[in-house]
C-alpha cells in the first residue's frame, strides 16, 4: 500500500500496480499486520473443521452452487415471485451504475437524506457511497471495520475484515482525529465509542442498505451472516431496507443454506457459526411493531452474465465470498489487499475482477500468483482457481487456435515478439535435428551466457547450461 491509500476506481492504472506492490513489500507494518492476521485465520479455519469430513462437505458445497447455477434464470424468477408475494420489491440492474440509480431513486422517493449501511461487497463494487454522496445523500458504514475504513477514506483491504491492514494504534489515532475519542489502545473503549456514535446514526437513518449472503428462491428469504448486530440494526431500524446482491447469490432452498453456512463461517474466520444469522423474508406486517415498512432487493448483474456464458469461467460464480483463498495466499499475505487496487483482492479478485473491469485493465491480475494452488485447496466450493488463473493468462495473451480468447479486453498482454519466440521454440522442439543442433551450439558457447538476467537474478543464481547436452552424454554412455 502506498502512504495515502487511493480510492478504488474502475480505472486501475496498470503502471501503478508494480509500484504499489513494491511499496507494500517494503512496508514492514503492512507485512506484519497481514502476516499475523492470516496466520491466525489459517489455524482457526483448520481447528473449526476438525472432526468434519471436509472433502465430502466441500463436494456438497460445490454441488449446491453448481445446481444453483445450472438453474440460475429459473431460480431468479422464482426468487422474484416469492419475494413479491412476501411484499418485497425486486429490481434488476445490468451494471453498477444502474444499481446505484435504483438505490438513489428509492431514497429520493422517500425523501431520504441519510443511509446506514451493513457490510456489502457488491455495494463496494458499485461504489455506492461515492455515488450517493454526489446525490446529496449521506451513506455511513456501520460494520466496525467498514466504519474505520470509511473514516480513513480508504477501501477494504480484505473482504471479511476490511480494516485488517491497520493496527490498534493507527485506528485509535484515526478515531481521535475524526470523531474526538481519546487516544487509547484499549479495543473495548474504541469499540464502545463506535457503538455510541453509530447508535445515534441508526436511530436517525432514513434507509438501511445491506448485502445478502444467500437469497433463497423457495421461500423468498434473504440471509445475512454477521457478528456485530449492525446488519440486524441496518435491516430493522430504518423504515426502508434495500438489499443489494449479485445475481449469482441465489440458491434453491433453505436446506442448501444449511450446508453453505456450515462452510462459509468456518472457512472465513474459523467460527462454527457467526453470532447472528439473519433471515429476512418480508417487510413489517400490519400487526408487527418494528421492522422496515419497505424492503427492496436489487439484483446486480455487472458482468456476471458474461462469465455465465463460458463453461469453464462459470465456476467463478460459485464463490460464496468467504475470503479463505486470500487468507491462504502467499502473495496476498505479503502485499495486502490494497496493492491489487481492485474491489475484490487476492485469488478470487484475480479471477473475478478481469471480468468486471476488462482483462485489458486487469491484465496484471492473473499473473500476480505463484500458482501454488493453496486457494483451490481451501475453497469451500472447490473453485479451481489455479486453472482459472492459467485460463486468464492465456486470454491475456490472446489464447491460441484451440482456445480462442473471449474475455473482454483479451490479448492486452500479447507481444508479437514474445509470440514469435514461442513459435520458434515450439518449432525447434518439434524438429529433432534442429533441436540437437541448437542445444549442441548453445552448450559450446555456454561461456558467453550472461550471469545476469534482469529481475530474475536479483534473488537467484542464473541457471547455467550444461557442458554437454543430454544427447551427447547418452551417446558417451554407449547408448
Amino acid at each position: 500500500m502506498t502512504e495515502t491509500a487511493e480510492r478504488t476506481d474502475h480505472h486501475i492504472d496498470v503502471k501503478e500496480f508494480h509500484p504499489r506492490v513494491h511499496a507494500a513489500i517494503h512496508n514492514p507494518k503492512i507485512r506484519k499486520n497481514f502476516r499475523s492476521a492470516m496466520d491466525g485465520l489459517m489455524s482457526k479455519r483448520r481447528n473449526a473443521f476438525e472432526g468434519w469430513d471436509l472433502e465430502t462437505l466441500r463436494d456438497l458445497g460445490a454441488n449446491i452452487r453448481l445446481k444453483a447455477l445450472a438453474n440460475l434464470p429459473d431460480l431468479l424468477e422464482q426468487l422474484e415471485q416469492k419475494l413479491t408475494e412476501n411484499g418485497v420489491k425486486v429490481h434488476w440492474a445490468v451494471d453498477g451504475d444502474e444499481a446505484c440509480r435504483i438505490v438513489r431513486d428509492i431514497c429520493k422517493a422517500r425523501n431520504a437524506k441519510t443511509v446506514i449501511k451493513g457490510k456489502s461487497m457488491v455495494s463496494e463494487e458499485m461504489e455506492l457511497n461515492h455515488y450517493l454522496e454526489g446525490e446529496g445523500i449521506e451513506a455511513l458504514e456501520s460494520d466496525l471495520g467498514e466504519y474505520i475504513v470509511q473514516l480513513a477514506d480508504e477501501t477494504p483491504s480484505h473482504i471479511i475484515m476490511p480494516a485488517i491492514h491497520k493496527n490498534t494504534g493507527e485506528i485509535s489515532e484515526l478515531m481521535h482525529e475524526k470523531t474526538g475519542t481519546d487516544l487509547s489502545n484499549d479495543v473495548e473503549y474504541l469499540t464502545a465509542s463506535a457503538r455510541q456514535q453509530l447508535r445515534e446514526k441508526f436511530m436517525n437513518a432514513d434507509v438501511g442498505v445491506s448485502g445478502v449472503n444467500f437469497a433463497v428462491a423457495e421461500t423468498g428469504t434473504l440471509c445475512l451472516v454477521e457478528n456485530e448486530g449492525n446488519g440486524r440494526m441496518t435491516t430493522t431500524v430504518p423504515k426502508c431496507h434495500i438489499a443489494v446482491t449479485g445475481i449469482e447469490k441465489v440458491v434453491p432452498s433453505m436446506e442448501d443454506v444449511s450446508a453453505l453456512l456450515a462452510l462459509l463461517t468456518r472457512s472465513a474466520t474459523g467460527q462454527h457459526i457467526t453470532t447472528y444469522f439473519n433471515m429476512i423474508s418480508g417487510p413489517r406486517k400490519a400487526e408487527e411493531l418494528d421492522g422496515p415498512e419497505e424492503v427492496h432487493l436489487v439484483l446486480v448483474d455487472n458482468g456476471r452474465s458474461s462469465i455465465y456464458q463460458d463453461d469453464e469461467l462459470l465456476d467463478t460464480l460459485r464463490c460464496i465470498r468467504c475470503g479463505a483463498c486470500m487468507n491462504h495466499c502467499p502473495v496476498y499475505t505479503r502485499v495486502g489487499g490494497h496493492a491489487y487496487g481492485t474491489t475484490y483482492p487476492g485469488p478470487i479478485g484475480k479471477i473475478l475482477m478481469p471480468h468486471l473491469i476488462g482483462l485489458d485493465e486487469g491484465r496484471h491480475l492473473p499473473s500476480a500468483s505463484s500458482l501454488c494452488g493453496a486457494c483451490g485447496e481451501v475453497c469451500p466450493v472447490k473453485i479451481p482457481i489455479p486453472d482459472l488463473l492459467v485460463r486468464l493468462r492465456q486470454e491475456s495473451v490472446d489464447g491460441d487456435k484451440l482456445h480462442p480468447a473471449k474475455v473482454r479486453g483479451h490479448g492486452a498482454k500479447r507481444s508479437s515478439m514474445e509470440a514469435m519466440i514461442w513459435k520458434g521454440w515450439a518449432w525447434m522442439h518439434a524438429s529433432p535435428g534442429i533441436y540437437r543442433f541448437g542445444t549442441g551450439v548453445a552448450s559450446k558457447f555456454r561461456a558467453l551466457q550472461p550471469s545476469k538476467a534482469g529481475a530474475w537474478t536479483d534473488y537467484r543464481t542464473a541457471p547455467k547450461l550444461a557442458a554437454k547436452t543430454l544427447h551427447q552424454r547418452m551417446k558417451e554412455r554407449g547408448q
Partner: protein
C-alpha cells in the same frame, strides 16, 4: 428491453454447453442422535466459547435465577413479552426482587429513544436451540418484536432442553421451514461481537453485550 429481460435472456441463451444438475447428498451434515444431556453439554460448551452464559434451571426455579442474574447486574428494568407465558408468569408473580417489568406493545416509532437508551435487559422465548453450534432459534413476532433481542445490553433467552436440536439442518427439517418463513427469523449464537480492530475480540459492539440462556430441564 428492460434490464430484467436483458439479464434473464442472456442467462437463458448462454453459449456454453448444457449444464448438468449434480446430486446433493446432505448426509455429511448429520450428527449422531445425541441424547438430551449430551446435546445440552455440547450447546453449553459452544455458546460459552463465544462468551454466552448458561444457567440450568427448572420450571419452578427459573424466576429465582432470573432475579439473581438481573440483580447482580443492577438492571433497573426488564423488557418482557406481553402474551407469552414467560411474560405472563413474570407479570403475575408479583415479586419484589425483580426490576420494573416493561412490555413492548406499541410500534417502535413511539418509544425508540426509550428502548435504545433506557432499557437494561430483555427476556424472550426461543423456538429451540442447536447443539452443534450453540445457537438459539428465534422467530420474532408482535409479542416479541425484532429489536427486543437486539437493542438492550443484556438479552436473556429461555430454552427448553426438550427443544434442543442436533444440527441446523435437523432443526429446519423438523420445523418444516421449507413451507414458509416468517418476516424475520434468526439464529443467535452469543452476544454481539467484533474482531475488526486488529483481530482483538470485543463484545457488545452493536447488539447485546451479554447473552444469558436459561435452559429449562
Amino acid at each position: 428491453m428492460s434490464s430484467r429481460e436483458t439479464i434473464l435472456q442472456r442467462l437463458r441463451n448462454r453459449t456454453g454447453g448444457e449444464l448438468t444438475v449434480p446430486e446433493c447428498d446432505f448426509s455429511v451434515l448429520a450428527r449422531p442422535d445425541w441424547p438430551t444431556n449430551e446435546r445440552i453439554e455440547r450447546f453449553e460448551k459452544m455458546i460459552e466459547s463465544v462468551h454466552g452464559e448458561v444457567h440450568h434451571v427448572s420450571e419452578e426455579s427459573w424466576m429465582d435465577r432470573l432475579a439473581e442474574v438481573l440483580n447482580t447486574r443492577g438492571a433497573r428494568n426488564l423488557l418482557v413479552p406481553k402474551q407469552h407465558e414467560i411474560g405472563q408468569a413474570l407479570r403475575g408473580a408479583g415479586r419484589d426482587d425483580l426490576p420494573e417489568l416493561l412490555i413492548y406493545d406499541e410500534p417502535i416509532e413511539s418509544w425508540q429513544a426509550h428502548l435504545f437508551n433506557e432499557v437494561d435487559a430483555s427476556i424472550t422465548s426461543t423456538r429451540g436451540g442447536i447443539a452443534e453450534t450453540g445457537s438459539l432459534i428465534l422467530w420474532p413476532n408482535n409479542d416479541e418484536p425484532r429489536l427486543m433481542s437486539l437493542v438492550p445490553p443484556v438479552h436473556i433467552a429461555i430454552l427448553k432442553a426438550s427443544e434442543l436440536y442436533t444440527t441446523f439442518h435437523e432443526a429446519m427439517k423438523a420445523q418444516n421451514w421449507a413451507a414458509g418463513m416468517p418476516t424475520n427469523a434468526l439464529l443467535i449464537s452469543g452476544p454481539s461481537k467484533t474482531a475488526d480492530i486488529e483481530q482483538t475480540l470485543a463484545y457488545g459492539v452493536h447488539g447485546p453485550k451479554e447473552l444469558i440462556v436459561l435452559i429449562i430441564e
